[in-house]
């Protein structure tokens, strides 16, 4: 079979087109160098189908294969699904501790310890007021001062408790914003279902919609921040995505193929890990902050009981929950003079003394001190775990970026490479052109 004179032109054209696609891909990579979730792409080239030609000397008709240039087979994104899974697991862990550390931070802040104004300091002053009263058992000023100081102490207890409740509410509110109906997870689920549909439509045609797949992976990354996710790749490019309970292993579907399934968190308790798990751990009933509230209540309770017992009457009144309700009893508040400092005559001070001797009591001061240490310890642990998780997540993210990220230097060198290749193809084409010029314009002009 004869070969067209223009065959080489075609080969060069293929080269020009391929190099142009490579340059386009490089441009796309550079443009998206700082796009979150973008994985770099590359054009897949392969030599185009060779032309079978007859050559003299070949005995049979099979002949030789003349190369015909290059074809762009497709564009692929460079990404390691295994690193994705690793990153998501670390991200879940990191978000879990981050949520705990943030929630406990506000709980700790409300304690305002160690300071000259926290409950510990108020308690010290409260005991001092009783001691002062024991020195002047019938002094109106001392009684008035005691009632004021007791009020300051109960105010501090109320304020700490209400701020803890606020921290708890904030955690629960945030959890509902993420997991609740119409929350973040629902939005992501809807978008994922849409993406699955579009991607499947392309994949059926044999296309690889790289940028849509990047977007889908980014959304799953975001889900992994909220809780532990499991991703199941389906035939045809679609996915099933679900949250996994870290304890029971039960799956709670978010997206099944092209349907968004998420309608809110399961009714019973679950441990999804991630931000939801962290928020649940501190905010749920029976969670960390609930434990703190119980500690404050039992502290207020033992304070009231011990003082009332020593005083031999109702100095403090409490009702459930004690931490929010402890107060100096109404009759004493109305008439501080009615405080009896002693069981005997004017100068007797045994009752005031008995209360003042409660100072440093393991069931009051000791309980509070242990409580502060517990809050501090919990936060300290969360912060330490968060720092650890951060290091792990960073190192996996580094490895992921190492595979999928755009390196400017690499793109620049590619740019040079592809530009030169384009120039060379163009040069090859001009060579063909010159050759044809000789053939067409200079051939057969003998004697002209």
């Amino acid at each position: 079979m004869p070969i067209s004179s223009f065959y080489g032109m075609q080969t060069s054209l293929r080269g020009l087109i391929a190099q142009q696609r490579m340059l386009d891909t490089t441009g796309h990579n550079i443009a998206n160098a700082s796009t979150v979730g973008y994985s770099r792409q590359e054009a897949l080239l392969s030599a185009s189908l060779a032309q079978q030609i007859q050559v003299s000397g070949a005995g049979n008709m099979t002949g030789a294969h003349l190369g015909s240039g290059v074809d762009v087979q497709g564009f692929r994104r460079v990404r390691d699904q295994f690193l994705d899974a690793q990153y998501r697991a670390q991200n879940t862990n990191l978000s879990d501790w981050q949520a705990r550390a943030e929630g406990l931070d506000s709980a700790e802040l409300s304690l305002n310890e160690p300071s000259d104004t926290g409950i510990n300091a108020q308690l010290t002053k409260f005991w001092q007021s009783w001691s002062d009263l024991s020195k002047s058992p019938d002094d109106q000023a001392a009684k008035q001062a005691l009632v004021q100081q007791a009020g300051a102490l109960t105010d501090s207890i109320h304020s700490v408790r209400s701020q803890m409740v606020a921290a708890q509410d904030a955690a629960t509110g945030q959890y509902n914003q993420i997991a609740g109906a119409g929350g973040e997870v629902t939005k992501i689920a809807t978008e994922l279902a849409g993406l699955n549909k579009t991607i499947a439509a392309f994949v059926v045609n044999g296309d690889s919609p790289n940028d849509l797949m990047d977007r889908r992976d980014l959304l799953i990354d975001q889900l992994s921040q909220y809780g532990q996710v499991s991703v199941e790749q389906l035939q045809g490019g679609s996915t099933n995505v679900s949250f996994v309970d870290g304890t029971t292993g039960t799956k709670y579907p978010i997206v099944t193929d092209q349907t968004a399934d998420w309608a809110g968190p399961p009714a019973g308790g679950w441990s999804p890990g991630g931000q939801m798990g962290g928020l649940l751990a501190i905010g749920k009933s029976g969670g960390t902050i609930d434990g703190y509230l119980a500690s404050i209540d039992s502290f207020a309770d033992s304070l009231a009981t011990a003082v009332n017992n020593a005083y031999g009457g109702a100095f403090f009144t409490t009702s459930a929950p004690s931490g929010a309700s402890i107060a100096v009893s109404a009759p004493i508040q109305a008439a501080p003079a009615s405080i009896t400092s002693g069981s005997g005559a004017t100068g007797s001070n045994d009752l005031a003394l008995a209360v003042s001797q409660l100072r440093g009591n393991a069931a009051i001061d000791g309980v509070y001190k242990a409580f502060v240490a517990k809050v501090g310890g919990d936060l300290n642990e969360s912060q330490r775990m968060q720092a650890n998780a951060q290091v792990l997540a960073d190192s996996v993210e580094d490895r992921r970026q190492s595979v999928a990220g755009v390196s400017m230097d690499e793109e620049m060198s590619n740019l040079v490479r592809f530009q030169r290749a384009y120039q060379a193809s163009a040069r090859a084409m001009s060579t063909m052109d010159e050759m044809l010029d000789v053939l067409i314009n200079r051939t057969g002009r003998v004697g002209l």
Partner: protein
């Protein structure tokens, strides 16, 4: 490993963040002069610091209580001293009145002075500290004695009778001290209770015997009786003195403990200023170095070298 642009940027940024948060922490240490500003900085030390603060607060209160008790004891002591002087004077008068040379007139004159001494002693027993009568037990608003012929004790037995708590000061953790004296313990009730054998009775007897011109009684029972009363008065003063000593040593002990506690608190929660500053300097040097290195790494690329 392939190093990508975003990796470099993220690493530079996270390193800068780490250094900056360390700097901020050191800065707040330097500003607050405290090693621990929140319980989570070191939960154990924070709890320890809270305990130390409470103990220091308690000790400050104990010192104030002791000072008050010392004032009380000083008042008691000066009253007892005056009473002792009165008794000494009465003793002198008794010696004069008991001699055979004394006649009814002079004994009568001496009896007048003894009567004045009795009033003086009762007045002294009515001494107060602040607005509180110090020798009426816990009935601090009632003077122990009425002036005049009625010697009935007006106060109560609190503090003397172990069953009734007296006026007690808390002078240490779990340590209390009853500081009131009960006048009736050594003065008795005079004519109201003529058989109690206390000082007022002895003086009333002397006065009666002087007025009755009964030299024998004066030389006999009255003389030994007054001597015995003086002895028991001195005993009570010795007891008070011992209590004052106890208060003094308690003050010294609490001062020492407070000093030790303050040192310990400072060791626990105060920042070492020199160390903090050195830390701050080395951290800010590291931060500057990271900034410079970061700026160079992030800026340079192959683009700088391609035409």
């Amino acid at each position: 490993m392939r190093i990508t642009t975003s990796m470099v940027q993220r690493n530079v940024l996270s390193d800068l963040n780490t250094l900056q948060s360390a700097l901020a922490k050191t800065q707040s240490k330097a500003a607050s002069q405290k090693e621990i500003t929140r319980p989570s900085d070191d939960p154990f030390k924070a709890a320890q610091a809270m305990g130390l603060r409470s103990s220091i607060g308690a000790n400050e209160q104990y010192v104030r209580n002791i000072q008050d008790a010392q004032g009380w004891m000083d008042s008691t002591e000066s009253s007892l001293d005056s009473i002792t002087q009165y008794v000494n004077r009465a003793h002198d008068l008794l010696l004069q009145g008991a001699t055979d040379t004394a006649d009814a007139t002079s004994r009568n004159a001496i009896a007048k002075e003894i009567d004045q001494i009795i009033q003086g002693i009762k007045e002294t027993a009515n001494a107060s500290y602040g607005d509180k009568y110090i020798m009426s037990g816990t009935a601090t608003s009632t003077p122990p004695y009425l002036l005049g012929d009625d010697d009935t004790y007006q106060g109560n037995q609190a503090g003397l009778d172990p069953a009734i708590p007296g006026i007690v000061r808390e002078i240490g953790p779990g340590v209390t001290m009853t500081i009131n004296s009960v006048a009736v313990e050594f003065l008795g009730e005079g004519r109201t209770n003529p058989t109690d054998g206390k000082l007022l009775n002895a003086l009333r007897d002397i006065s009666d015997h002087l007025k009755a011109d009964d030299g024998a009684a004066l030389r006999g029972g009255d003389m030994t009786g007054l001597q015995n009363r003086l002895d028991s008065l001195l005993e009570i003063r010795a007891r008070n003195g011992a209590m004052t000593n106890r208060l003094d040593s308690a003050t010294a002990r609490i001062d020492q403990i407070t000093g030790a506690l303050t040192d310990q608190l400072s060791n626990t929660e105060d920042a070492d200023f020199a160390k903090t500053l050195i830390q701050f300097n080395s951290q800010s040097a590291a931060y500057n170095a990271a900034l410079k290195a970061g700026a160079n790494i992030v800026q340079s690329s192959l683009m700088d070298f391609l035409r």
